[in-house]
Structure formats: C-alpha cells, structure tokens
C-alpha cells in the first residue's frame, strides 16, 4: 500500500483530500504544519507528498526546500497545491524543488487520475 503525506492547514480540505485518497486505497499521513511535515517526510519516506503552499508556520515552498536539503528528502515526490490566481506560483513551486503541481480548487473527477501520474510514474511510460 502506497503512503501519501498530506500537508494542509485547512481542515475541510484536509478531510476532503484524505477521504478521496483513502477511498482510492492509499495510506494517508497528514499534518497541518510545515515543520511537522518536514519531519514526517524525512522519517516516514512516503511515496507522495501533497504540499499546500500556504501554511501557518513556514510556507510549503520553504518546507520543500528544506526537505530537498536533506539527503533523505532528495528523491521524495512532492506535489504542490497551487492557487490559480497567483501567477508565478507554479514556477516558484518547481524552483523550490517540487516534482509537480496541482491547481486548487480540486476537481474530484480528475484529482485521483492526476495524482496517479506521480504515484505510478512507471505506468505512464
């Protein structure tokens, strides 16, 4: 069973995404804080990290940079949740070391299939 680390501060979204991931048969670890997220990522080595950009303590991009600084975090797959309205967020996400990004708001109809690209990259090829 693949493990997904979800770092999201909004409770509603946290619940929504967790619900969708678990319904798809994935194990979900989650936290509402960036620093806690870094710790979990490095320790649990999840198959996928979903990183919200706006977090209460440090923002998602800073958290990503820190994960990438650690050798344990180098090869982790991190997908940023970016906002449509904030032009440049996507590029900033990639620059910070994210593997990819997904736009908020989440469209449940395509969310899981979008995630699959990152979870099963070998399948895509």
């Amino acid at each position: 069973m693949k493990t997904v680390l979800l770092i999201e501060d909004n409770a509603a979204n946290l619940y929504l995404i967790t619900y969708m991931l678990e319904k798809s048969g994935l194990k979900v670890i989650s936290t509402k804080e960036g620093l806690e997220g870094i710790k979990l990522a490095l320790e649990k080595q999840p198959d996928l990290i979903i990183m919200d950009v706006q977090l209460p303590d440090i923002n998602g991009l800073e958290a990503t940079r820190r994960i990438r600084l650690d050798k344990r975090g180098k090869d982790l797959t991190i997908v940023a949740l970016t906002s449509y309205a904030m032009t440049g967020d996507k590029q900033r996400a990639l620059d910070a070391g994210c593997s990819g990004y997904m736009e908020k708001p989440i469209n449940p109809e395509i969310f899981i299939s979008e995630l699959s690209k990152f979870l099963y990259p070998e399948k895509e090829k």
Binding site: N10, A12, N13, L16, M86, T87, P105, E109
Partner: protein, 715 residues
C-alpha cells in the same frame, strides 16, 4: 651751232677792231636780251625798249659805239637764250652762286634789289612764318622764287606750309593778287614800288633775298670777257661820278633823290641798307626763335594749365571727400574721437566733432572746448578708475576697448555711455586712441527696468517654486499613499482570492465526490440539486478569477510569461476544449489556417482571450458556425479573427460591448451563463499584450472579433 659760233667769232673780231678804231660802229649788233620788268626793263609806249638797264647799257654802248639789237622775250625765254648763246648780254640778272655756274657776270652791280611781298588787304606778314597756309603768286624761275635763298627754300627751311602759284611775269603776279586769286604776291622791290599802288596792293614789312642786279653773259663765249671789261669800266666811271647820267636815270625812275647827294651818302645808304637787311634777318631769326619759344612756352603753358585743372579737380575731390568724411563723422549716432595721449597723460585731439554739446550737454562741451582733457574729469570717479584699469590692460593686450561708464552732465543728471575703440602705439611713444562714444542711457534704463522685472520674476518664481515644492511633496505623499493603497489592495486581493477559494475548494470538492457517488448512491433529486450547487460554485470561481485578473491588470501587477509558440496549435487546443459544448448545440467549429504561424507572446493569456471569444461565440450562436482565422502580417503582427453566425450586435450596443457586467440582450441574460466580465477582461488582456481588439457585427447575421497582436520579442 656752227652758225652761232661763226657769228660769235665775227663779233669778237669786230669788237676788237672797233676797240682799235674807236669811233667806228661795230658791224654786227650786240644782241641784248630784254623782258618786261618795269622799271628795270620794259617796252615804252612807242614800243621802244626802255628802263634802267637798257638805258644805262645804252650809255655804255654809245660810248663804245656798239650796235645794239634788243631781243625781247619773257624771263625764262631770255635765260634760255643766254644759256644757248643766242644773245650776248642779258640785263637785270641777280647775282647768285647757282647762276654763276651757268653764266658769267660783270663785277659792278647796276642795282640792288630784294624780294617784297604784296597783299590786297592790310598785310600782316612780318616774317616768312606768316606765310603759313597762304596762296602765294610768284614768277617762275625768278631768283626770288627758286634761288638758293629764294622763297621756296625759305619756306622749306622754316617748315612753313603754303601754296605757290607760278606765273611768267610780275604783272600776272599782281593781277592774281588784285583778283584775290592769290593771298600774296612776291615781286622785286623795283616792280613793287612802281606798280603796287596801281594794282591797289599794299607792301608788307617782310623782305628777303637782297641781291645785286648785274649784266649776265653766256659762259664760254669768246667775247664775254671783252664785254664784261668794257661794261665794268663804264659802270665804275658812271657810278663814281655823282653827276653822271647813271644817276639821272636812277632819279628818273625814283630810285635816287633828285638833289645831288653828297659822295659819302651812297656808301652810307648801302651800309644802312645792309644794316637794315641784317636787322631784318636778325629779327626774322629772332621772330622764328620767339615763335619756337612761344610754341614751347605754349606747350608748357598748356601742360601747366592741365596740371592746374587736375590740381583743382584733386582739390575738389579732396574737398568732397572731406565733406563726406565730415558728414560721416557728424552723422554717426555717437561721438567719434581720435586723440594722441602722451606719456604725461595729456591728450591731444586729432579729430574733433561739433556734437559734444548734443551728447554731453553745454557744461562739458564748453569745458572740452578750452581743454580736451577736461572731459575725463566728468566721468564718475568709480567708473573712471575702472576705465583706467581697462585701458591699461588694452594697451598691453591690444584688445578692442568696449566699456560702459557714467558721465555727470550736471549736478542732477548722470548719463550712461559706451565707448568702443582701439589703441595704437605711435612711434614717438604716444598712444593713439580712436573710436566712438555711444549714448546708451536709454538702453541702460531699459536694462535697469529689465533687472527690476527680473528680480520681481525671480521672487515670483521663488514663491511659485516653494508652492510647487509644497504641492509636489503633497503629491508625492498622496502618491505614496496611493502606492500604499495599491499595495494594500493587491495584498487584499491576494488574501481574498485565497480566503474565497478555500471554502470554494470544499464546496466544489465535496459536491464533486458526492456527485461521483464516492460517498454513496444519490437519488435523481439529490443529483439535480448537487449539480446546481456545483455549477453555482464553478460560476463563483470563474467570477473570482476574472475579478482577480482584471484587478491585477489594472494595478499593473500582471506579469507576462512570454515564449515562442505556434498559434495554430493554440487554436486547435481551444477548438478541442469547446468542441463538446459546440457539438451539444449543433454548431460547427472551423479553423481556416493558411499556414503555420509562430509568435512570441504570453501563451496562457492568449489562450484566455481565445477561450473567452470562442465560448462567447458558441454561447450566442443558436445554429451555424464559429470560424477561426489566423494571419501574419509583413510587419510581424498577427491577426486572429473569431466569427460566428449568431444574433449579432445592434449598432447602438456596440459601445457597451466591452463594458463590465453588460450582457447585451436582457432576455438572454437568464438563458446565458457568464460572469459579464468576459469581454471586458479580454480587452484588458489584449491591451496587456500590446494588441488591439475590434468588433464588426450585423444584427441578426453574426459577429466578427478581430484581435491584432504584436510579436513581443525584444529586438
């Protein structure tokens, strides 16, 4: 000739015989040539030969008992005959060197003669020079005419130009003068004295060629010597005896006073005659010399006159140029000056003008009149000191003087002057100053006024500047506030976007998983209602996104992400995106692409534009087509059109087309979904991409939007 020689021989023999016999008459007559030249020789009223020469010869012939035959002829004929030895003696021949070569002459003179000139009117002939340009009648071959000192040679010698009319005897000479066919006539003194009055002619003072009249004999004649000896012997006797018939004859022809003259009278008379002749010749030469001198003097005089005229002209010109110069100096709108300054500072004016009073007033003008140096005392001391310093510099540098100073005209009047000049060092150590002093008082007045105005203006400008600075700082402050407000707005918008979207995430997300049946099965009613919730949430999301876009563009916060891409691909993408909706309405989407066109621009923004336009087109078209075209102009600009076959836009509504929240057809509002911001945002984005959007529409037939975009690559 034999005949002649024989006759001569016989005559000689006879003469010698007669000389021996004494009382006997010679058998052959001696031929004597005569011609008409009263009173010396002529034919009297009885046709007999008469005159001084024949009568004297008759005395000799009678004494010698010679038989005489007169052979008459004119002068030339007679001379010819004498030369041919056709006659033995010729009377009345003037002795000359030329003639002595042809003829023999006896040694005693019978008469002394000279040439005289007669004219009709009062003669004005005092020398040969007075014959100039005259027609003169003369006797051919006369000694007076062609002799060595005859008139021909005379006029030639003195270079007198005159015309001669040659005739055969003196009567014709006088006749021509009387008839005024000649201006003057030349005859011997004897003929003149005898006939001058008769012809009404007047003798001039001019006489020439005094000559001794003798008998002439043929040269080489065997008896000429005999005849000469006899004639001379008798003549000597006759001339020495004051009571002889010789003098009787002379007296008869008015050539000798009737009273017996003392013996000494004759030589005295001859002496007087010679003296007279000498004086006449002297005077002639004198006259000629005087004439020459006069001519020279005349020439010199003419030269002098010309010189004088020239001098006068020069003087006149000089006066004229002086006048011009004076006029110039007096009419220059300033005081012209030229003075020499010696080392002790004394100034000696070279040029003066009468305009001092006009410029400097009466007080200074009077003072200058007494001493030119006084002028400088009237310059305001402060200016005078400066001027002296300037003058010293100029003396050293030879620059031009240009200085302005004040002159105190009177107690209450000070005037500004400007002096322009030059200095020149003279050889004697003096300095020559020259130039012009101009009255610049009016200009100075204006300058002072201008200065005042300038100061006022400066004050005004200063006040205004302070106001302006104040306003500027206020504006800056306002601007800062505005910038701050704008920043706050941006922050607000960013926050709002997040805050609004976060709950929307939940709404859309949970509606989505409910509709997907992820939670459980739904009834049709539940599905219908959840569908409305989802659509409303999506609409709200679109609205928020549009507002954010517009706000960002208006706040110049929109960032462009430019890249090179093919417009054809982009249009195909858009068509694909809209295909489901178009198919739903039965509308065909066409793309008429002539060629692949690439452009450097913001692909995402352009896609946004095309989606907006295309979805509008699909939205407002009930049936028909939506057609895309793309074209690249030579300028590098690209034109994209989106044409529909929808309802079109009424002309009066065209203006409102791009206004926010203005859906044209109210009746359509409810039917058509949309934020009401689509075209407004589209126009904003087109402008952001430096492009233009235009619309053409025919109500009821369709609408065409035309977007023109430049290539944004920076050259």
């Amino acid at each position: 000739m034999d005949n002649v020689s024989t006759r001569n021989l016989l005559l000689t023999v006879l003469l010698i015989l007669s000389f021996g016999l004494r009382s006997q008459q010679s058998a052959f007559p001696i031929k004597v040539g005569v011609y008409n030249n009263y009173p010396k020789v002529y034919l009297n009223e009885n046709g007999q030969v008469a005159g001084i020469f024949p009568e004297i010869f008759q005395l000799i012939a009678s004494a010698e008992n010679w038989q005489v035959e007169y052979v008459p002829g004119n002068w030339n004929e007679c001379l010819q005959r004498l030369q041919n030895q056709e006659i033995d003696i010729m009377v009345d021949v003037a002795l000359s060197d030329d003639r002595q070569k042809i003829f023999d002459f006896n040694n005693e003179s019978v008469l002394i003669s000279w040439g005289t000139i007669y004219t009709k009117s009062r003669p004005n002939i005092n020398s040969v020079l007075d014959l100039s340009d005259k027609n003169i009648a003369v006797m051919k071959n006369s000694i007076l005419t062609t002799g060595q000192d005859g008139i021909y040679n005379l006029v030639q010698r003195y270079e007198v130009k005159c015309k001669f009319i040659e005739v055969d005897d003196y009567e014709q000479v006088f006749e021509l003068v009387r008839q005024e066919k000649a201006d003057a006539g030349i005859v011997n003194r004897h003929f003149g004295a005898a006939f001058g009055k008769q012809y009404g002619l007047i003798k001039s003072n001019f006489i020439f060629l005094p000559s001794q009249l003798r008998f002439a004999f043929p040269k080489n004649s065997s008896h000429s010597a005999f005849l000469i000896e006899k004639i001379d012997k008798h003549l000597t006797r006759l001339e020495n005896d004051m009571n002889s018939d010789y003098y009787t004859i002379l007296t008869k022809y008015n050539l000798y006073p009737k009273k017996a003259s003392p013996l000494w009278l004759m030589p005295l008379l001859i002496l007087l005659c010679l003296l007279t002749i000498f004086f006449i010749i002297s005077s002639l030469i004198m006259k000629w010399r005087i004439k020459q001198k006069t001519l020279e003097l005349q020439t010199a005089n003419d030269d002098l006159k010309r010189e004088i005229t020239k001098h006068r002209e020069t003087l006149a010109e000089l006066e004229k140029s002086r006048e011009i110069y004076r006029n110039f100096v007096e009419n220059i709108p300033g005081l012209v000056f030229m003075y020499d300054q010696s080392s002790d500072g004394n100034r000696l004016p070279i040029i003066t003008t009468n305009r001092h009073e006009e410029f400097l007033g009466k007080i200074i003008a009077d003072s200058i009149k007494s001493d030119y140096n006084n002028f400088f005392n009237f310059i305001i001391p402060e200016d005078w000191n400066k001027l002296q310093k300037v003058a010293l510099t100029i003396e050293n540098t030879k620059q031009n003087l240009d200085f302005e100073y004040r002159v105190k005209l009177s107690e209450d009047r000070v005037k500004w002057f400007r002096v322009l000049g030059k200095v020149k060092m003279l050889e004697d150590g003096k300095t020559r100053w020259q130039g012009v002093i101009l009255d610049v008082d009016d200009r100075k007045k204006i300058e002072r006024e201008l200065e005042l105005y300038r100061e006022q203006l400066e004050k005004l400008v200063e006040c205004r500047t302070i106001d302006l600075e104040q306003k500027t700082s206020e504006l800056e402050k306002a601007n800062q506030e505005l910038l701050e407000a704008d920043r706050l707005k941006s922050i607000f918008l960013a926050s709002m976007s997040h805050e609004l979207r976060t709950p929307l995430n939940s709404i859309i997300g949970f509606t989505g998983i409910l509709l997907m049946g992820m939670v459980g099965d739904l009834t049709d009613e539940q599905r219908y209602q959840l569908d409305i919730v989802k659509k409303s949430a999506s609409h709200l999301l679109d609205l928020i996104n549009d507002i954010l876009d517009i706000s960002k563009i208006e706040a110049n916060k929109a960032e462009l992400a430019c890249q090179q891409f093919f417009i054809n691909d982009l249009i195909h993408e858009v068509i694909q995106l809209l295909q489901p909706k178009a198919a739903e309405k039965g509308i065909n989407l066409f793309y008429e692409a002539a060629e692949r066109i690439d452009i450097y621009s913001d692909q995402r923004r352009l896609k946004q534009i095309l989606i907006n336009l295309a979805s509008n087109a699909v939205k407002f078209t009930e049936k028909g087509n939506v057609t895309f075209t793309s074209e690249k102009l030579k300028s590098g600009e690209m034109i994209i059109t989106v044409t529909d076959t929808g309802k079109g836009v009424k002309p009066e509504d065209m203006k409102k087309l791009f206004e926010p929240f203005q859906q044209i057809d109210a009746s359509l509002t409810k039917k058509q979904e949309g934020t009401g911001l689509g075209l407004h945002l589209t126009q904003k984005i087109v402008t952001l991409l430096n492009g233009k959007i235009t619309v053409q529409s025919e109500f009821g037939k369709g609408t065409t939007f035309r977007v023109t975009l430049p290539d944004l690559r920076e050259e």
